[in-house]
């Protein structure tokens, strides 16, 4: 959490991330997310689709970790998502684990066209459970739903796995953008719900949530509203 407050002070922190942001202080909460899953399942594409609304067709393997942010709105509250996209390649596994701590949301991704990526979910889930806190919202994502002809994992099977393990679940496509927003937003809604229900201690560094008092800058707020509405 120390890290997060630091980056907020840095005036460049927001620059390279998303078009929908207009100022670093224009939100009342910060949620930290991590994206995990095997290499090549489309984690970076999902992040890019969510922050830039674009698909990268030729995407190199992530080295270590990537980062992106976007401000969203839940129940009339502006929330800044700080998203850590980890590398799926085995050789980064040890170090990417250090990014799990203090995540409010964990997006656990597999590729519906590659069963092996689905089979590895239990090991990703073990890591996620062991390294985050009990209130971390874990969202299972079956990506590449556009490739129906190559599908290897049926929807029902994954849905059952999700239900058995108490995970939220949907299938989406980073390529077409279908349901990508939903995955990020539903996670945020669930976290927000946990806050409202008093399940999350906002003072604990591990909660992955920071509360920011709303600042005076209404002008930026208005600009942002406009920008966001034309993106929908």
């Amino acid at each position: 959490m120390r890290t997060i407050s630091r980056t907020d002070r840095s005036r460049d922190a927001v620059r390279c991330t998303t078009m929908t942001e207009s100022g670093p202080y224009n939100y009342s909460y910060i949620f930290k997310y991590i994206i995990i899953g095997d290499m090549g399942v489309g984690k970076s594409c999902l992040l890019h689709q969510f922050t830039e609304k674009k698909f990268m067709s030729d995407c190199p393997h992530t080295i270590g970790v990537e980062f992106g942010t976007r401000i969203i709105e839940v129940a009339g509250q502006k929330i800044k998502l700080q998203i850590w996209d980890t590398a799926g390649q085995e050789r980064f596994r040890a170090v990417t684990r250090s990014y799990y701590r203090g995540a409010a949301g964990a997006l656990m991704v597999y590729d519906v066209t590659r069963r092996s990526t689905y089979n590895h979910l239990s090991s990703w889930l073990t890591d996620a459970r062991n390294l985050t806190n009990p209130n971390t919202v874990i969202f299972l994502i079956g990506n590449k739903s556009d490739l129906e002809a190559q599908r290897e994992v049926p929807y029902e099977e994954a849905k059952q796995f999700a239900d058995e393990n108490g995970l939220m679940f949907l299938e989406c496509s980073a390529k077409t953008g279908d349901r990508v927003e939903d995955a990020f937003l539903e996670t945020a809604r669930k976290i927000y719900q946990n806050i409202q229900d008093g399940n999350l201690d906002l003072n604990a560094a591990e909660s992955g949530v920071q509360h920011k008092p709303q600042t005076q800058n209404t002008l930026l707020g208005n600009i942002q509203d406009k920008k966001e509405s034309c993106n929908c």
Partner: protein
């Protein structure tokens, strides 16, 4: 990218990595993987002395480490040098990387930051880089290309 450059590893995680590395060392095991993990942790430290040590480890890995991980080493060399504000050598590493993977987004973002900082700080720090880097980068070009 600026966020990544200012994201510091916790002392606890750094200690864990250090212990793993030292344990293997004591048992005479030389595993480039463990060394890479430790080097990466060191580079992510809040203390420049650690980052400097991490960069030295990466340089060593580049010469003696795992061949298939070379691109990672070069990327983190650029990253580490950038953290240490040695922008001109950081720039040379990232250029070497981009020679091989010209469209790598992560590398391009890092290069953007490096170049912006070079412009901001003037060329003051440029001379510090020195000879070693030139040699290492020279080899980087040669090795990555094969």
């Amino acid at each position: 990218m600026e966020t990544l450059l200012e994201d510091f590893i916790s002392d606890e995680d750094l200690k864990t990595c250090e212990k793993l590395y030292n344990d293997e060392l004591r048992r005479g095991i030389r595993n480039p993987k463990t060394k890479f993990d430790y080097a990466w942790c060191l580079i992510r430290s809040r203390y420049p002395a650690d980052t400097r040590k991490g960069v030295l480890f990466m340089e060593d890995l580049f010469k003696n480490g795992d061949e298939s991980a070379r691109r990672d080493y070069v990327y983190y060399l650029a990253f580490g040098k950038c953290k240490l504000k040695e922008y001109s050598s950081a720039n040379r590493y990232i250029k070497a990387f981009l020679e091989i993977e010209p469209s790598n987004r992560q590398a391009k973002e890092l290069q953007e930051v490096i170049q912006k900082r070079i412009t901001r700080e003037g060329l003051a720090g440029a001379a510090i880089a020195g000879g070693i880097v030139a040699v290492v980068v020279g080899t980087a070009f040669a090795l990555l290309k094969k």
